[in-house]
């Protein structure tokens, strides 16, 4: 199978697909009922975005279920396991802030991604708001929640550098500016939350930008095994 790997719809679709999958793992496990609804809502928005994007790149189900790990183009951040609630919120904060800025830019452009981006940016603004509110609640909550939130932000920090690696086909995106704006926004939120911006490199040395080249972290293979097993067990079947 040869997806149109040249299109930037593929990496962006993979980001949304994989993060949606991770959020789907929360179903039935959230700390309050309202968060069952909220996390599922975000997961559904992302899955909706993934389906549109993957369809621009080929057949959505072939692309989701029949590619192997080395063919996925998502950033490593979105494949990171959920961890505790703070870990999930930190991942959401980093990613949704990035996604809102990126889609905001794409929505004003003239690529075939513009209509999708215009819709996605509205959804993503809600996701970002949700993540910010929880970051502030947890950071400025109890001593325990503060510790957990800071630890989550620190742990995931090294996956944030990759967000600003230029994506093939999105040449008009000012990646450098995007990164600066992203950093300002994250800093502002963390200040409100009485948290500190993590220090240290935003990427690990050897695997810089690995996800976009199909180089992933170890938990990703297991995620795909679970996601794809039924589809792969019945070749050619329709569902």
């Amino acid at each position: 199978m040869t997806p149109r790997t040249a299109t930037p719809a593929l990496p962006l679709g993979d980001d949304a697909l994989i993060l949606s999958h991770r959020l789907g793992e929360w179903a039935g496990n959230a700390p309050v009922l309202e968060e069952e609804v909220a996390l599922a809502n975000i997961a559904l928005d992302l899955l909706g975005q993934a389906r549109v994007l993957l369809s621009l790149a080929g057949d959505e189900d072939e692309l989701a279920y029949l590619r192997e790990e080395r063919q996925f183009r998502n950033v490593q951040l979105v494949e990171q396991p959920n961890g505790d609630f703070a870990h999930t919120i930190a991942r959401q904060l980093y990613f949704s802030t990035y996604q809102e800025l990126l889609h905001g830019h794409l929505a004003t452009g003239d690529t075939d991604l513009a209509p999708l981006a215009a819709k996605a940016v509205k959804e993503t603004a809600y996701h970002r708001d949700h993540a910010e509110q929880w970051t502030v609640r947890l950071g400025d909550g109890t001593a325990e929640s503060h510790t957990r939130m800071q630890r989550a932000l620190d742990t995931l920090w090294r996956f944030t550098g990759e967000l600003f690696d230029p994506v093939d086909g999105l040449d008009s995106v000012p990646w450098h500016d995007l990164r600066a704006t992203w950093t300002t926004r994250i800093t502002t939120t963390l200040e409100r939350a009485a948290l500190t911006l993590p220090e240290g490199p935003q990427r690990s040395g050897w695997a810089a930008g690995g996800g976009r080249q199909g180089l992933h972290t170890e938990p990703f293979g297991r995620l795909l095994a679970e996601m794809q097993h039924l589809h792969r067990s019945h070749p050619g079947a329709t569902w």
């Binding site: 789907g24 700390p31 009922l33 968060e35 909706g48 909550g141 109890t142 679970e226 097993h229 569902w239």
Partner: protein, 327 residues
């Protein structure tokens, strides 16, 4: 909530007249304590069923075989959480707190529907749950839209609309499998074989053994007997099974011209009682997972409460939401 002395016959007479006239009792109306307690129990257990009922289906979210099906399933599980929220709100209008009700669920003092103690072993189970379990729930719940207690009746109108949608999706999922490959067809048949009898048990014990039925019917909380609803469900399902190209696992199933209904075989009530007692296949897992989610989420709820309390202290407002949330 003020409790009026039982000798206050004016209010009791008004309550009786409201019920007799098929009108609605609202939260501020006087009601007999037994009516209130009975409704709290029923609504809470209904809410608990929505929450526990997320688990068997959520079990397949990460393995759904197409992105379309995955989206449908996620939306359904999300709706169930929403139904739980409506129902806890309805119970709260009767003076019960959500925390207290959840505590009763977690400590086994209140129950949830026995059906959710069965495992989802294959993808087809997701379809069988939609068709049979949601179908049985709708048969039970549509009459509750006319229940005498207003907030419950109104919650049921919303719940039933969404449940009907889920049921059609479940049916369509099974139809796709039934018409698919031989392996898919077999998967669908196996799921129906496993879910049929437990679905019939959802209507509760036979009429002559149902502890709460008579009083619930007198109060117009309940409108039809367990056996009536069960018969209605069987009559609906038989032709649907035929249209699906699947069989129902009951050798006694046959059309009774005289009654104008389908006759069906005896239900294994000993199994039902075991499941209710906590000895079903997944009772421990379901309750265990619910408790674990609640316990593991405790620090998150504490953080939200602490933050809200601090924020409220800094910016005092009239009737603060923050103070409410902090409790």
């Amino acid at each position: 909530m003020t409790t009026i002395a039982p000798e206050n016959t004016d209010q009791e007479a008004l309550f009786d007249a409201t019920i007799a006239a098929d009108e609605r009792i609202e939260p501020r109306d006087w009601m007999p304590e037994d009516y209130r307690a009975s409704l709290i129990r029923q609504i809470a257990q209904h809410a608990h069923s929505e929450i526990i009922g997320m688990q068997p289906e959520a079990n397949w979210i990460t393995r759904a075989p197409s992105l379309r099906r995955k989206a449908i399933l996620m939306a359904k599980v999300q709706d169930e959480a929403g139904h739980g929220l409506y129902l806890y709100s309805a119970a709260e209008t009767l003076g019960a707190g959500r925390d207290e009700l959840l505590d009763k669920l977690h400590t086994g003092r209140q129950k949830y529907s026995s059906i959710f103690n069965y495992p989802t072993l294959t993808w087809a189970d997701v379809g069988a749950i939609g068709w049979l379990v949601d179908g049985a729930a709708i048969t039970n719940q549509v009459p509750l839209c006319r229940c005498s207690y207003g907030p419950y009746a109104r919650a049921m109108v919303r719940v039933c609309k969404e449940e009907s949608f889920h049921q059609r999706q479940g049916y369509e999922l099974l139809l796709t499998l039934s018409r698919g490959t031989d392996a898919q067809h077999a998967m669908a048949q196996d799921a129906v074989d496993r879910w049929w009898w437990p679905s019939l048990m959802m209507f509760g014990p036979p009429d002559d053994e149902s502890a709460h039925s008579a009083q619930s019917m007198a109060w117009k909380i309940k409108r039809h007997s367990n056996d009536e609803l069960r018969q209605r469900f069987v009559d609906i399902c038989v032709p649907q099974a035929e249209a699906l190209g699947l069989t129902l696992p009951d050798p006694h199933l046959r059309w009774n011209e005289e009654r104008g209904h389908w006759d069906f075989g005896p239900i294994d009530w000993s199994e039902f009682r075991e499941v209710l007692k906590g000895n079903g296949p997944c009772n421990d897992e379901r309750l265990g997972r619910r408790r674990r989610a609640h316990e593991e989420g405790a620090w998150v709820r504490e953080a939200a409460a602490a933050h809200a309390a601090r924020h409220a202290a800094r910016t005092p407002r009239t009737g603060t939401h923050q103070e409410e949330a902090a409790r």
